[in-house]
Symmetry: C2
Subunit: 345 residues, 2 copies
DNA sequence: TGATTTTGCGAAATCGTTTTTACAATTATA
DNA sequence: TATAATTGTAAAAACGATTTCGCAAAATCA
């Protein structure tokens, strides 16, 4: 029962092409003011809105981009999405959203779905341990532009917008060093996605600058169980670990219970720095216990989430308008620091 | 450069109608096995996928629904969306998402956008202080089914799925009464959206059952500044308030700073119950301070968020398949309780 | 007044599907 | 062997828009 352009034409007593011309009100068309008025009146009275679907078919573009993120339960990706939405709005476009749940297979399903919907382009934060490189190759072949945000596949050439992870991790580690810590553990893994590789590299750089060799037995990561075990090993080490670098909220959250169990409060007993916030619900028993072991707001590297979203969208739109450039852009935005002196030491 | 059905037809040496028939492989059609094989081969080799856009135009339905929620910064709506997505997946449909930021105008923009995209239906958690009733009337007139989740416009007839707010608030208030509290403040407002009206009503019911009249001077709500002022009044009251009912995380979050400033720890110094969790970032100075004033996990009413999403979608899909029923369904799901004895006293 | 330009509008093609209808060619029936 | 029924395929219409092109009517010019 939806009204179409022909209903408007009928009511205005004109042809559909005339209606279209009035509505697009481009310069080249010649429509008399009297007719235009009739058309506009009919449009108003019928409350007519052109079908985007028909437009899409005609123009061969959907003015829609697909977003796939691993999760929404922290504000991190929510803010990135907000940035994306904002720019898309400004350009009269829309967004469809998929949540991969850190699962490579689900990610693929979302991407295929989006492609079937003929999205113009994609913005993706790939799941950890990603195995979709061939899928992204297909996108390149098909000429569908996409931009990775926050994370990128290792050794993979593509558009990317994220934080300057190496720099952030470097500064954060220096913060620990400045407090006199020398044996500093790294919890975060070193592969799967580039962000972690880069953070490890920043950690390493800061240590080596001080002539400290990275101790492999102080590096841990993986799934929560592995992290838990790694932390148990670290706290048993003698002499005791003097600082901890947590590569993200994910690792921090997984590591805290083991620390608490060992009676270690942070940052009082163990200086600690992290990337981005970790969130606690104070209705949750476990979370409540955990917060008790935290003695002061944690120093943290703050990622420019909103800006990452905006920048990624701008790159995508640029690619779109230029019909897919062959040049890939890799952009690392400068992080901010909370309770870390970035120029410290 | 995307390949269409006619490319397949050309490659298979047949007509596009034959290709379509092979692909839809419905029973009624008669296509020889030899032709079908040729077509399938061509489809495989060209990696052809039918254009959803063209299908949409043909079928006059998009297999898409629009979701509009006020915010995504708490897990509440995220979980509802997860429930919606799940059911939509199972039915091979997609979702487009808008965030209204608690702004009636933005909500309207999102809804209009969704309509222009010709979504089949809508699931909406309306913004507080909503002024879009006429817009929703238009939806009814246009025969576009929609379901409210969590919140509903006051005195407005429409599909609705949410928590049994009155019951939840009733039980929560009884919990405070069971602890001996008699003068209990209510922070949450009483209008704008039905959830709050119902929660106030449950609070009132529990009090009146004990022969306690609601004291209007102990009721506060509104924007964060008003809440802050209300709390300051409450804590100054003598004899001192003995319990606090917080209508949602929003009010809890807004109220805590004033409580802390007054040196009141919760629930130790002031028994408190709330609806759903409040989240804190322990990298945030303010949040950190706030958590120090909380002496134990807070008792809370837990809303069945995931189920709300599922149920709402089921109702919408039912409406959709029946071509829009005239009967509106109002469903209130039973909440769960954390640290509240629901049968208490 | 007759020829030419301008103006206003509509018919038709197009985008990629699905589905109905029509039409051959083949097979079965009388 | 005609005729009827069946089978395989293609042509065409429809969905709702945009845009090119052509054709009248009106306006301008000679």
């Amino acid at each position: 029962m939806r009204i179409s352009i022909s209903d408007v034409a009928a009511k205005a007593g004109t042809s559909i092409s005339t209606v279209s011309k009035v509505l697009s009100n481009a310069q080249g068309y010649r429509v008399s003011e009297a007719t235009a008025r009739r058309v506009r009146k009919a449009v108003r009275e019928l409350n007519y809105r052109p079908s985007i679907t028909a437009r899409q078919l005609r123009f061969q573009r959907t003015d829609t981009i697909g977003i796939v993120v691993p999760l929404l339960t922290t504000p991190f990706y929510v803010d990135i999405i907000r940035g994306i939405q904002e720019v898309m709005w400004e350009n009269g476009r829309t967004v469809i959203l998929g949540i991969s749940d850190e699962d490579s297979v689900l990610e693929q399903r979302h991407l295929t779905m989006a492609l079937q919907r003929r999205v113009d382009g994609l913005i993706v934060a790939p799941a950890r341990n990603n195995e979709n490189a061939n899928l992204y190759d297909e996108l390149k072949d098909a000429g569908i532009p996409f931009v990775f945000v926050d994370r990128c596949l290792p050794d993979y050439e593509a558009n990317y917008v994220g934080t300057d992870n190496r720099e952030g991790a470097y500064r954060a580690t220096r913060h620990l060093l400045a407090q006199g810590a020398r044996s500093i553990c790294y919890i975060g893994g070193r592969g799967g996605i580039t962000a972690l590789v880069e953070r490890f590299s920043g950690y390493q750089k800061a240590l080596e600058e001080k002539g400290i060799e990275v101790d492999p037995s102080l590096v841990g990561g993986g799934i929560p169980e592995e992290i838990d075990q790694a932390v148990r090993r670290f706290v048993a080490v003698r002499p005791r670990v003097e600082g901890a670098f947590m590569a993200s909220y994910f690792y921090l959250q997984a590591a805290l219970p083991a620390l608490i169990e060992a009676g270690i409060r942070v940052p009082a007993d163990l200086p600690m720095v992290g990337f981005d916030s970790v969130f606690f619900s104070l209705s949750d028993e476990t979370d409540y216990e955990t917060t008790r072991a935290i003695t002061a707001p944690l120093p943290t590297v703050i990622q420019p989430r909103y800006e990452i979203g905006r920048k990624a969208t701008e790159i995508l739109l640029a690619d779109l308008s230029q019909g897919g450039t062959e040049m890939f852009r890799q952009i690392r935005l400068t992080p901010q620091y909370e309770r870390i002196d970035p120029d410290g030491q």
